[in-house]
């Protein structure tokens, strides 16, 4: 989901997660309406890493298991830590980790629960451009391996095109779905692709839709 600030993309994502009530309409997951948190099916990744500063990395990853009163799947967690390059930092506290590492830890925390759907709310917005590229590649890899449905909110057009199969463009005042673009960039994707003329063209096309306010558009309920 892509759009400028104030178009309601974060609000929509929060509603999908069951953390935010709807005024009208309904959100369905596998045919069942989402009326509250669904911890076993939906994983949420927040802006900033949202780690608990009084817990070290491993304790942070154990946090959801404690809430669910379940045993931590140590092997799965170790594999994920290995994949995200966090192995060896298990006993570090969040303030000792870089922004990118913190966000990777929060991804591990969510994936350790093995949810079917991952909702990501501008997860890399606070990171610098280099770290952001790195995180995007990591996310693509994890996505390819796990095959999870990911809803990713961003205000960065090139990030949206780079990651997505479909880009849902939203426009503000009132928040509407303007258009849905299907991205036919081949996979696996590389950072070099973002410099191709066709990629730039795609960016410009989406930018035009955002700026024009999307005409009548589709109303979001």
């Amino acid at each position: 989901m892509l759009g400028p600030s104030g178009c309601g993309k974060t609000t929509l994502l929060w509603a999908m997660s069951g953390l935010h009530a709807l005024t009208r309409g309904s959100i369905l997951l596998d045919g069942r309406p989402v009326t509250g948190p669904r911890p076993n099916e939906i994983g949420v990744i927040f802006q900033e890493a949202n780690l608990l500063p009084w817990r070290n990395l491993r304790q942070n990853i154990r946090f959801p298991f404690e809430i669910k009163r379940a045993k931590m799947d140590g092997e799965r967690v170790d594999t994920l830590l290995e994949e995200t390059g966090l192995a060896g930092f298990e006993s570090a506290y969040p303030r000792e980790l870089s922004g990118g590492m913190q966000q990777r830890a929060s991804i591990v925390r969510a994936l350790a629960q093995d949810p079917g759907v991952l909702l990501m709310d501008e997860p890399f917005g606070a990171l610098d451009a280099f770290t952001r590229d790195e995180m995007n590649l990591l996310l693509l890899r994890l996505w390819a391996e796990s095959g999870k449905t990911i809803v990713f909110v961003t205000h960065n057009i090139s990030e949206a095109i780079f990651l997505a199969d479909r880009v849902v463009v939203m426009t503000p005042r009132p928040g509407r779905l303007a258009r849905i673009f299907t991205i036919d960039l081949p996979r696996p994707r590389t950072v070099e692709m973002t410099f191709e003329p066709s990629f730039i063209e795609q960016i410009q096309e989406i930018k035009r839709v955002v700026e024009s306010g999307g005409g009548h558009g589709l109303e979001v309920e």
Binding site: S17, L19, H20, P39, F46, K68, R95
Partner: protein, 288 residues
């Protein structure tokens, strides 16, 4: 299926790191825990050196000027009586004061902590109670000791209650400041994993409030010790206590014993500080 979490309502939290300075409440007590202890050898040597200089300097001055003991006790005499008479004179009274202090602190802080957790859930209750808590914090509770003595007799309880009244509100206002520091993003995180209200309290709100709770205990303990010793000076139990000994020794002009009693009280105060310093290091260092 659970409902949409109520405390989030229609707010989407802003993700700002670190609480603002103003979030510390009306009085910023955090300075009391952020004392910088000596680390290098040179600093250690300087501290010990200063102590020795004052100790023997004082001894020398008192000897040269030939000051009588009832005017000012010689440091060596003070240390001598402290060590040779500890078991016979001081241990019993130290134990009495410790009992009053610890039982009073335990009662006062438990009630204070519980009240803080409850009132911060209800802003209305908090506003109604606030002025009364302020009165309790600012009134010296040892003023009630003579009155409590009349009502409750000559046991330890009057002073225990005064200590509880002095330390409880201190723990309460600081803990309340801590509990008020709710972080919506972290609550949302816990909710997204299906956390109950109780789990949010024990796993999010309580650890988030921990640094302020520790500050509350430290300030409350210092007020409590003050009240215990002061209370004993005003109206001690039959058992005595360090405060009662201060009055007794000074009335007999037994200045070395008087000085030794003060040393014990000072050591008690410093131990309280050191204990909470390390408790803070263990449980609240994440915030530093």
């Amino acid at each position: 299926m659970s409902e949409v979490p109520r405390e989030l309502r229609d707010e989407v939290p802003t993700f700002e790191e670190a609480p603002r300075k103003g979030d510390q409440g009306p009085i910023d007590w955090t300075g009391i825990t952020s004392f910088h202890p000596a680390k290098t050898m040179l600093e250690m040597v300087a501290i010990v050196g200063l102590f020795l200089a004052v100790f023997f300097g004082l001894e020398l001055i008192l000897r040269v000027t030939d000051t009588p003991t009832y005017v000012f006790p010689k440091p060596i005499d003070v240390v001598q009586t402290l060590f040779s008479d500890f078991g016979t004179i001081y241990a019993h009274h130290l134990w009495v004061t410790m009992q009053e202090f610890l039982i009073g602190l335990a009662i006062g802080s438990s009630i204070g902590l519980l009240l803080a957790a409850l009132i911060t859930q209800k802003p209305f209750a908090e506003k109604v109670i606030a002025p009364y808590v302020l009165v309790m914090v600012t009134t010296p509770m040892l003023a009630f000791v003579p009155f409590l003595r009349l009502k409750l007799g000559f046991g330890l309880w009057p002073i225990v209650i005064a200590v509880a009244l002095a330390s409880g509100p201190m723990v309460m206002i600081n803990a309340a400041t801590g509990f008020r520091r709710t972080d919506l993003a972290k609550i949302a995180l816990a909710r997204s994993y299906g956390a109950s209200t109780l789990q949010i309290f024990t796993k999010i709100r309580f650890p988030l409030a921990m640094p302020m709770i520790i500050v509350g205990f430290m300030v409350g303990s210092i007020f409590g010790l003050l009240t215990a010793v002061g209370g004993e000076m005003v109206a001690a139990s039959e058992e005595g206590g360090l405060g009662e000994r201060l009055v007794y020794f000074s009335s007999l002009a037994r200045m070395p014993e008087f000085g030794a009693t003060i040393l014990i009280i000072a050591a008690l105060g410093v131990s309280i500080y050191v204990i909470f310093y390390f408790v803070g290091k263990r449980w609240a260092s994440w915030e530093a």
